[in-house]
Symmetry: C2
Subunit: 335 residues, 2 copies
DNA sequence: ATTTGTCATGTAAACGTTTACATTTATCAA
DNA sequence: TTGATAAATGTAAACGTTTACATGACAAAT
């Protein structure tokens, strides 16, 4: 790879001048600019971003870190796309780390990204008291949390009104006459699930239905957990008439379990999923789901990160987007 | 962030010695090692990977680039997971770029990754004559192609036997009596679709069914294309009895179109998709599909990249994995 | 006592940039 | 002519590492 020195020699100027041309410094004569640009083209010179980042943190070639809990979850894929969309338009590169709900792995990525001198980080914390992320914030490294916030410290957040989203889903089921509604949740260390649980409870309360702890199942947030928990639910002596499932993958896993038992949805059991998918309509049956605007969340987070980088002192922001209940065919009225 | 110098001062040795301790150089006394390690811990020192990469390319802190065509496609998500799995175990960081089948964006990521001094690249080329990737290979930057190869140049490749995969799918349909089989393909610039097309033709040939060009539709590889092409197919005067769809997203899009028209699968039309998904069983109806081992492909590619980095001169490898036809309920026999 | 060798450590150059500061040259006012 | 000012360019330090080479201390061999 050719470097500044090569270009400088080729156009018979100093490397400082070449650097100035690259950075559009006005203090260089038109003549020299043209000469240097010709050399740059001739040698196919590309600035070395590693050297740029080592030398100065406020260069124009920014590097963003993005840490997500589970890339298999289409919701987070949407988030990634949103972040990338904004980054691409603004000439950032994005480094992605997927920690698969593994706290150690999250910590590793935090360390790596930090020592890669990233200019900013977008992260969905594994829990609300994440010390690693708190540290970054304290060090004044620009951080935006997505999907989940931090409880101990003030930080930029983009999330969704999880409580209301869950409330509306459960309210809908209760309105249709359901009383025994199982909740397949993710781990309650994760803030989102605490909030969804709270919405679940509030809806029950509103309808005067007593809360039954034995209907709540919290494990991991993957396909397999959804499958296994649903199996258990279906075996219950007094089977619930409806299932509320906490995320995309849990829903898909639960569907597999239900289909494996040849149980009819919604005639024998209703189901609502948190997280919509483009192909929800093609599921058997078309799935009623709580839609989160993943792409928009990603884009917004990137935008906020950009602003935070430009203006580190600025007041922390807390953006809460709305969910939408997509009514389809996986729920029905019962007497 | 503390640096070598700070650690050196803290433990009253030179920075060279500290560096040696970090890199486990045996030529340093036990006593000093302990002293330095204590300082490292006290100051929470983390090596700066940017400086490491600038200084030497054969350090232990490697950075891999991964460029994929479409992160919305669950197949590529599996690939990402496979790559990451291997990378994580071997202490690499992975930088992901998603180019969304946009050639310009692919080029941009190629440039960025190169100027980030990546140690190696895993990429699914947008087409077989990708000059950008050819250049990297010529510059002796370790590259492994995944899902798709390069025609003009010898390079490491991990892919799947697309021709045979498609052949088996079409053969299955023909065996069930189908003769008019539509093919929803991606763009024929992409090598995979050329190969799948070839398998499609060979199967027709085997059964003596004449090839009908008007049944082949090639556009993009996204959900929307699948939806729109399927709409067209359903409007055909003499409607095909079966659809073979070229990838995950095309299949899901096509399903939506079919369901929107209230057409029964498989009674009124059969469908086989290239690419299986974990939740294929929960689709309406459970989808018959050609499974590709995405995770294994990613893992294998990372492994090959690792070997190529260690041994750049080694002979290029061409790994072709097998597909598997997953028989479910979306196809039926016709007379 | 001198030489040789080994081990531990230090010194300084290098990686490719950016940038504060210094230098050169030209322009113009007095 | 001199000095001041401005414009264009160059010089060199810095970012945080790694590493070839130099140095120094000490023990063993002569």
């Amino acid at each position: 790879m050719s470097n500044l020195k090569a270009v400088a020699e080729h156009s018979k100027v100093s490397i400082a001048t070449v650097s100035r041309v690259i950075n559009n410094d006005p203090k260089v004569s038109r003549e020299t600019v043209l000469k240097v640009q010709a050399s740059i083209a001739a040698l196919e010179y590309k600035p070395n971003r590693v050297a740029q980042r080592l030398r100065s943190s406020n260069s124009k070639t920014k590097l963003l870190g993005l840490i997500i809990p589970d890339i298999q979850n289409p919701f987070f894929v949407d988030v990634v796309r949103g972040v990338e969309d904004y980054a691409y338009q603004n000439n950032f590169a994005v480094m992605i780390g997927n920690f698969g709900q593994d706290e150690k792995k999250e910590k590793l990525y935090l360390d790596i990204f930090q020592s890669e001198n990233i200019d900013g980080l977008i992260v969905a914390p594994i829990h609300g008291k994440d010390k690693g992320i708190e540290n970054l914030v304290k060090k004044n490294i620009p951080v935006v949390c997505i999907d989940r916030g931090l409880t101990e410290i003030d930080v930029d957040v983009v999330k969704v009104d999880n409580e209301l989203g869950a409330f509306n889903a459960i309210d809908h089921l209760l309105n249709m006459g359901h009383k025994r509604i199982a909740f397949i949740s993710g781990n309650f260390k994760i803030p989102t699930y605490i909030e969804r649980m709270s919405g679940y409870k509030k809806a029950l309360e509103k309808h005067g239905v007593p809360f039954d702890e034995s209907l709540v199942f919290a494990r991991n947030t993957d396909y397999k957990s959804g499958f296994e928990i649903a199996q258990k639910i279906l075996e219950l002596e007094q089977r619930p008439t409806a299932i509320f499932s906490g995320n995309n993958l849990l829903t898909l896993g639960a569907l597999e379990a239900i289909h494996a038992e040849n149980i009819k949805i919604p005639e024998e059991i209703s189901i609502i999923g948190f997280d919509d998918m483009p192909w929800s309509i093609s599921l058997n049956p078309p799935l009623t789901a709580v839609r989160q605007p993943g792409f928009d969340m990603g884009r917004k987070a990137a935008e906020m990160l950009y602003e935070r980088i430009a203006n580190p002192g600025k007041k922390k922001e807390n953006v809460i987007l709305k969910t939408e209940l997509m009514l389809r065919k996986s729920t029905t009225r019962i007497e």
